[in-house]
C-alpha cells in the first residue's frame, strides 16, 4: 500500500517534470534554451517516472531493467545535447540574449 502511494507520487512528479519539459520546448526562444528545457524532461522527468515503475516492479529483474534504461538515458542524453549544441554553434547560430533595457516578453 505504502509502496503504491510512493509509486503514484513518483510517477505524478515525473509526469509533471515531463510536461514542463514539453512546455519549455515550445516556449523557449532559441535552440540552446530549448535544450535546457528538454534536459528537465530527460533527467528529472524520466528519473521519477522510472522510479515510480520501480516501486511497482518490486525487487525483480524488471526493476533492474528500469535502472538500466535510466542509466542509458543518463549516459546518452548529455552526449546528444552536447553534440547538438556544439553543431549549432559551429553552424553559426548565435544564442538568443536578452537585450539591455529590453522589457521581458
Amino acid at each position: 500500500m505504502i509502496v503504491d502511494i510512493l509509486s503514484w507520487i513518483s510517477i505524478g512528479i515525473g509526469a509533471a517534470f515531463i510536461l514542463v519539459g514539453g512546455l519549455g520546448l515550445v516556449r523557449m526562444p532559441d535552440v540552446f534554451t530549448r535544450l535546457h528545457a528538454a534536459s528537465v524532461a530527460d533527467t528529472a522527468g524520466a528519473g521519477f517516472i522510472l522510479l515510480g515503475f520501480m516501486f511497482q516492479a518490486g525487487l525483480s529483474l524488471n526493476a533492474l531493467k528500469l535502472v538500466l534504461i535510466f542509466v542509458f538515458l543518463v549516459f546518452t542524453a548529455p552526449t546528444a545535447s552536447h553534440a547538438l549544441a556544439h553543431a549549432a554553434l559551429l553552424d553559426g547560430i548565435r544564442p538568443w540574449t536578452r537585450k539591455p533595457k529590453d522589457p521581458a516578453p
Binding site: 510536461l19 520546448l25 530549448r34
Partner: protein, 100 residues
C-alpha cells in the same frame, strides 16, 4: 490509474514537441524535438508495458533508448558534414566569381 496519467503526460509532451518540430525554425530545433520524442517513446513503452501488465516491454524500451541516441548522433553528423560541404561550395563559387 497513475500509469495512465503518465501516458497522458507523455503523449501531451510528444504533441508539444511535434509543435516545435513544425515551427522549427532551424534544423537543430527539430533535432531537439526528435530527440525529446525519442525519450518520450522510451518512457511511453515502459508505461504502456506496466499499464497492460506486460513488463517484457522493458526490453524494447531498453533498445529504443540506444537507437534514439545513435539516430540523433548520425543525423547530427550528417547535417554537420553537409553544412561543411555547402560552405566549401559557396567558397569556391565566390572564388570563381572574384577571379575575373
Amino acid at each position: 490509474m497513475m500509469a495512465l496519467a503518465a501516458v497522458a503526460a507523455l503523449v501531451a509532451t510528444v504533441f508539444l514537441a511535434l509543435i516545435r518540430a513544425y515551427l522549427g525554425p532551424t534544423v537543430y530545433d527539430r533535432v531537439v524535438a526528435v530527440n525529446a520524442i525519442g525519450t518520450m517513446t522510451v518512457l511511453l513503452i515502459a508505461a504502456v508495458g506496466f499499464l497492460m501488465g506486460r513488463p517484457e516491454f522493458l526490453d524494447i524500451a531498453l533498445v529504443y533508448a540506444l537507437i534514439n541516441f545513435i539516430g540523433t548522433i548520425a543525423v547530427l553528423r550528417y547535417i554537420k558534414r553537409r553544412r561543411a560541404r555547402d560552405a566549401e561550395e559557396a567558397e569556391s563559387a565566390e572564388g570563381a566569381e572574384g577571379a575575373p
